[in-house]
């Protein structure tokens, strides 16, 4: 008979309402054999008892329902964001509170680089925190005048450069396009926006930081980030899944010591709907224990803080013109209709409430044309959905994966600039979703914000912005509901709740090992609970000590 191990813990929070709490879990073949108390374990007298976690709290391994492989590929570059951030190797990188601090950090990096011509690339910068004082080429000239210095913003849409770079790629005062803003002297200010400026930059430097984003190293780094943050099932929610990328995914996820289950969503870009249906069908037949295909991602609009999300009346609070469609409304109906009829599980990015409305309409039409009881199509972000929209979602069986981290990171800007007070208060309305019975998850969209499910749950429980404003107190979740939002909730939206997301017999032995009980701490310190590491398929992965 295969070996059985019994793990004992101070407390096991199962997220299974039928048996919410336990102290022992028996494991065999990487799966959960039994959950219960010491008495319940008498049926396996030969089991090995593992007491390493006897003073710790176990929960189902966290499920990150919306993140990206870029969380693994971006970290070799310098982080220069406003907020503290922990790297996949457990190193705390401090946030930078001024442009001078950004310059200072990058100057030190530049001075330490051995190749005098190498490109210095940094990420995570967001001018929204500097009262719109924009970074200029002159700032970055203080970093270096002899090597290209590039900073990609947190939005991943704008790049700041130094004068050396501009000159090298041929952008100067004669450049006259919208994507290259000028300073008062008529010189390029240093920001590059839009496809034209980006193509010129990467062609001019013959280098593209963003094209070689997937590699075995990226997958490994992504998984280290998962371990440190307690996640054992993690999405890569928009991927064209080229053969090259698939080979890396298969190689890494089949390694015995790979610590998480990777769940990519196939992008529809560059393919017809018929091709997507065929591809996802084939990919599903290759699923293995740590690599799952089945989801297809559609992107309907842009982002709210980038003013590219599509809003219903009255639009942006500051009067900015409405955002962008990335799929035309009638095209969305057609694509959703075909995918739904073929029983393809869709994850649909909608930030603004107008995009949400069209996605709901499309699914409603598809559901009328072809009834599918348990489709679990999920609106990703779904940040601005109104109560009326949540009710329609409930009626149609649509799930929501809410971007709770936004409340902390951009809540103040949504209140003052993008949404105004009332609509900012209903941002990522998890309370409404819960009350109406809309199945939901809570996510980070890493690397846009940090992959840290406990922090995401903290946001949904407390709804506190970076400046300390309480945004929509009535939308706050209980700790139990927020924990469901980072475990069984997203697992359901991914059609994986029969495998992960709670501690129940038959599911994978995937756990997060916590130093404290989330129900026992002050909810305001939920995010600070230390994470010892994870267990994935019964295998133990200790996180590096910070």
């Amino acid at each position: 008979m295969p070996a059985t191990t019994i793990i004992t813990a101070r407390k096991i929070i199962t997220m299974n309402p039928g048996l919410p709490e336990a102290s022992h879990v028996a494991i065999r073949d990487g799966r959960i054999l039994a959950v219960g108390n010491a008495e319940d374990m008498k049926f396996w007298p030969d089991a090995v008892i593992d007491t390493r976690f006897a003073d710790k709290v176990l929960m189902p391994g966290f499920v990150e329902g919306h993140s990206h492989i870029m969380e693994g590929s971006i970290w070799p570059y310098s982080y220069v964001g406003y907020f503290d951030r922990v790297s996949p190797d457990g190193v705390m990188v401090s946030g930078l509170k001024s442009i001078d601090a950004v310059v200072e950090r990058l100057k030190a990096v530049s001075d330490a680089m051995s190749d005098p011509n190498a490109i210095l690339f940094a990420w995570g910068f967001d001018p929204i925190y500097f009262n719109d004082r924009r970074m200029t080429r002159l700032d970055l000239d203080r970093v270096s005048t002899t090597r290209p210095v590039l900073i990609i913003h947190a939005s991943f849409h704008i790049i700041n450069t130094n004068s050396f770079t501009l000159q090298k790629v041929g952008i100067d005062r004669s450049t006259n396009i919208d994507g290259v803003p000028k300073d008062a002297d008529g010189e390029p200010a240093g920001e590059l926006q839009g496809p034209a400026a980006r193509i010129r930059l990467f062609r001019g430097l013959q280098w593209n930081a963003l094209s070689d984003s997937v590699s075995s190293d990226s997958v490994r780094r992504f998984s280290r980030s998962a371990v440190i943050n307690g996640a054992t099932t993690v999405t890569d929610l928009h991927n064209e899944l080229t053969e090259l990328c698939l080979a890396d995914f298969r190689k890494e996820t089949s390694a015995a010591d790979f610590p998480m289950r990777l769940v990519p969503a196939l992008s529809r870009i560059g393919a017809t709907t018929e091709q997507i249906i065929e591809r996802i069908g084939k990919l599903k037949t290759t699923n293995s224990e740590k690599l799952y295909f089945g989801m297809v991602k559609l992107v309907v609009d842009g982002s709210i803080q980038g003013f590219t999300g599509r809003l219903r009346w009255p639009g942006y609070h500051n009067g900015a013109e409405n955002g962008l469609w990335y799929i035309a409304p009638n095209e969305l109906d057609e694509i959703v209709g075909k995918l739904h009829a073929a029983h393809v599980h869709m994850h649909i990015h909608t930030n603004g409430d107008e995009a949400t409305e069209l996605a709901i309409n499309a699914i409603e039409a598809a559901q009328i044309a072809h009834y599918w009881a348990d489709h679990r199509h999920t609106l990703q972000h779904c940040q601005m959905a109104s109560p009326a929209q949540f009710k329609r979602m409930k009626a149609l069986g649509i799930c929501a994966n809410l971007f709770s981290n936004h409340i902390y990171y951009w809540g103040d800007q949504h209140y003052a600039i993008t949404m105004g007070p009332e609509r900012a208060n209903r941002l990522n309305a998890a309370g409404t979703a819960k009350n109406l019975g809309v199945p939901f998850g809570l996510h980070s969209d890493a690397p846009v914000t940090p992959l840290r499910p406990l922090f995401t749950a903290w946001c949904a429980v407390n709804r506190i912005t970076a400046s300390g404003r309480l945004l929509g107190p009535d939308e706050r979740l209980s700790v139990a509901d927020a924990l469901a939002g980072i475990t069984i909730g997203p697992a359901y939206t991914m059609r994986m709740d029969h495998l992960v997301g709670s501690i129940e017999t038959g599911k994978f032995a995937d756990f997060v090992v916590l130093e404290q009980d989330p129900f026992a701490v002050d909810p305001m310190t939920l995010k600070d609970i230390p994470i010892w590491g994870t267990i994935c398929g019964g295998q133990v992965f200790q996180a590096p000590k910070p």
Partner: protein, 334 residues
Amino acid sequence: MILNAPEQHADQNNAIPLTVIGGFLGAGKTTFLNHLLRQASCRYAVLVNDFGAVNVDVALIASHDGNTINLNNGCICCTMADGLGEALIRVLSAPVLPEHIVIEASGVGDPWQIAEVAMLEPDLQLAAVIVLADAEQLPAQLADSYIGDTVRRQLRRADLLMLNKIDLVDAARLQTAHETLAGLQPGLRVIETRDAKPPAMLMQFDHATTPERLPLFAPEDTPDHGIQRWLYRRNIRFEREKLERLLDSLPASLLRLKGWCWIEGENAPFLLQMTGSRWSLGATEKSSHPLLTSLLGEDSLLIGLGTARLPEDAVLTALFESAFAKTSLEMPVA
């Protein structure tokens, strides 16, 4: 005829012309591109969002490698599935360079964003932004609360609007479409079409970089969207400011203007290019001067293409003569 000189390697500029095809879903962009690939007047590289709708005769396909279809007529068609930048790099590193690149903007995209690529890449030059619109759907699209702003954004910087599928609307609705456009965007250049057929003369005009390549002698018996030509050649000098003012106020029926103009106080001709309402007037490269001299002597040459509503030759000629320098020699037309 002196302009009908054989081709010589004296391009003022080796940059490849790039045309962007925009327009909302269903306006006819793919039909346009299919026409272009089938009846190529030069080696086109056509970049599309996906191959799904591209419908090239199998007999025309020389090879197909996943990202690129090579046609027997020298044209290629590439997908931008891995990004516009990657597709452009593939096209620009091909063993034989295309003579004209045409990029399909997405049905909801702003074609101007792609046009900026041509303005920034040294080996490209912006030929035109052509936007198609469905004559029957357009007024409703513009009024639609979901997509009206997207359609307006697409038109905002179009050099030419092809009002397509006019056979599906009656005269009154066609008139409504024209009026809506005129009200929305005065000065917008509009031509009518039934089946999104590219105006061949216009396309040819847009990839001509020297006078002898201009479509001066296209056979009169092939009506091409009713496009009219206007030709002006005279040994005169323009006054720069007057000319610039004139260029800002030309009638919307003038779709294109290209010319080599002598400006008072300069000792070489300037290249004038006007596409829609967008124009440039710049010094010609020294290396092109011998060819220009052999073709034009010291004459200024202007060639225009316009819609059926283009004013008579005499009216246009008078407009340009109002921009002569006072000292300009009043010589008889050559």
